[in-house]
């Protein structure tokens, strides 16, 4: 049995004293893809933020533990945690354009990222970035480095976000609704690129989405959240074909099915 990469044990989270996540248990192995679905406000993003250590002042982990490669993330010093964000754990946002500073060039922000994690060789950084852009089906990488986020389309920004997350070859990638803001066609492209990453770098991915079809397409394991609780958790196939909880059943039924005759 492989060692677990990420493990959540009885995690409880509250915002300003109000509990929003209750007793969540998860285990993620290297290279595994976990799809998290659930109704809006059920605490999916909160869970990811908690693992990233980005809950903020109001948010508190009031119980349980989150382990990364066996070490508790909760008891880590802020600086140590910061150093992990990037090279070990990375994140892709729903709207990557707004997760970048609007008035700085993408290249500058990319160099800043690498510099902060002690990779100062510009040439190497550029080479790697261009390589990744290539993989992401973005041909004009140099041009993108010279661009500002607002100059790129939503799909391009999303892929830039993924490239930035992958620059340091993290072992774990959190993706919080990375494709919801995108067009169906572009969405399909981005999802395929994400899958490639796992295949090439062995990155484990936690992807939050509303699209059950997408989970069924890419995730090895699926988790269903409802009102702050982990309703169901297990192999994707298992859950989809044999949902135990009423909510999960409703969820799966709700997915419009295309009739191809």
């Amino acid at each position: 049995m492989q060692q677990s990469l990420l493990e959540m044990r009885h995690v409880e989270i509250s915002y300003g004293g109000e509990p929003v996540v209750h007793d969540v248990n998860l285990v993620l192995k290297p290279g595994e893809i976990l799809g998290v679905v659930g109704e809006s406000g059920s605490g999916k993003s909160t869970l990811i933020k908690a693992a990233m250590g980005l809950l903020g002042n109001q948010g508190r982990i009031t119980g349980g533990d989150i382990l990364y490669k066996g070490n508790s993330l909760l008891h880590m010093k802020p600086e140590a945690l910061r150093k992990m964000r990037g090279p070990e754990i990375a994140m892709v946002f729903q709207n990557c354009a707004s997760s970048l500073c609007p008035i700085r060039r993408i290249g500058d922000q990319l160099f800043e990222l690498m510099e902060q994690h002690n990779q100062r060789n510009r040439e190497k950084v550029i080479d790697r970035a261009l390589d990744l852009f290539e993989k992401m089906n973005l041909s004009d990488g140099r041009n993108i480095l010279e661009s500002y986020p607002f100059e790129l389309s939503g799909g391009m920004n999303q892929r830039v976000g993924i490239v930035m997350a992958m620059m340091l070859k993290p072992a774990l990638l959190f993706a919080d609704e990375p494709t919801s803001a995108l067009d169906v066609i572009v969405q399909a492209q981005v999802v395929k690129e994400l899958m490639k990453l796992r295949d090439e770098f062995g990155t484990a991915i936690v992807i939050v989405t509303h699209n059950i079809g997408l989970v069924s397409y890419m995730a090895d394991k699926a988790a269903v959240m409802y009102q702050g609780r982990l309703l169901e958790y297990g192999a994707t196939k298992e859950i989809i074909s044999n949902p135990q909880e009423a909510y999960t059943q409703r969820l799966i039924q709700a997915v419009p099915k295309i009739r191809r005759g």
Binding site: M52, R85, G86, A90, S98, S99, I103, L113, Y148, F150
Partner: protein, 313 residues
């Protein structure tokens, strides 16, 4: 860039026409008969004949718009008429006093910037902590006192009780600028600190801050490289706007500290009903204000790629 500046300059034309027309109309109605006013201060009676001649000479018998046009043409050439009181060229008088006001304004802006930007940032960063409440309280207090009252208190403390600074402006070199500058800066910083705080807070709450954190960027780097840089754009615009209120605000302060600038000139001119002088003052201050705003816009345009690139297309 050049195209943009050109367009902005073109846009200024109606505004400048508006400014001059409004001022002209205002003073025209206020001053009543300019010739009467001109001879009012020569105590000897001046015959109607002379007045009629003078009116014709000044073109005051022409229709209003013609008068405005003539006046504007003169003004463009730097001839804004003669003071009713001193009988000197208005434009020359104004220009001779302008440096003092600019000097004072710049000093006040400098102090304001030096005080309120750090304080505003500090308050934003330490939001809802003691230091934030303290800074906000101070700015509330500074905001609630008329500037002439602040100046009296400052003079009382620094000139009378401590005796380290002079009361009267323009007298003891750099020392004499301190009190008027402080007075202006207190009022201005009180407003500006809050604006800086709000601007920085707004940026701190943007998604990209979270994004940078998720990429493991150091807080200090996030703050200086991204947040501050972005907030500065707002801060600069706000600064330009406050220059406007500052230009007007110097009038009272200059009168109190006997600072021999255009503000005092304006106040004196108003008490003396010296309409050509008031007119020159109003127009020029408006033009300076417009120029400052234009510069800021261009600067902003240059600094903010969102605007630069989108507008350049």
């Amino acid at each position: 860039m050049k195209k943009y500046i050109g367009r902005r300059l073109l846009q200024l034309i109606p505004i400048i026409l508006g400014i001059t027309f409004l001022s002209f109309a205002l003073m025209q109605t206020a001053a009543g008969d300019a010739v009467d006013a001109l001879y009012d201060n020569t105590s000897g009676g001046v015959s109607e004949q002379i007045k009629v001649e003078k009116r014709a000479e000044l073109g005051l018998d022409k229709p209003f718009l013609v008068q405005y046009f003539n006046w504007l043409m003169d003004a463009v050439r730097g001839d804004m008429g003669v003071s009713y009181i001193s009988k000197k060229q208005v434009f020359e008088t104004f220009i001779s006093k302008l440096p003092a006001t600019i000097y004072l304004t710049l000093a006040a802006i400098l102090v304001t910037v030096l005080v309120s930007i750090p304080l505003g940032i500090l308050a934003a960063v330490k939001r809802n902590q003691f230091i934030d409440y303290f800074i906000r309280m101070m700015s509330f207090i500074g905001n609630s006192m008329p500037s002439f009252f602040i100046s009296l208190l400052l003079i009382y403390v620094f000139a009378l009780k401590l005796n380290i600074l002079p009361v009267i402006g323009n007298s003891e070199g750099w020392k004499s600028i301190i009190l008027p500058t402080l007075t202006l800066a207190i009022a201005m910083s009180s407003k500006y600190t809050r604006q800086v705080r709000a601007a920085v807070l707004e940026e701190l709450n943007k998604d990209y801050v979270m994004g940078a954190r998720a990429r493991g960027i150091r807080e200090s780097v996030i703050f200086y490289a991204s947040v501050l840089k972005t907030a500065m754009l707002t801060i600069i615009t706000l600064l330009a706007l406050s220059i406007g209120s500052l230009l007007g605000g110097t009038a009272i302060i200059e009168s109190i500290f006997m600072w021999d600038g255009v503000g005092k000139l304006a106040v004196d001119s108003i008490t003396m009903r010296d309409y050509p002088m008031i007119q020159a003052y109003v127009i020029w201050m408006a033009l300076i204000y417009v120029a400052v705003n234009l510069t800021t816009d261009i600067l902003y345009h240059y600094l903010d790629p969102r605007i630069r690139i989108l507008q350049e297309e």
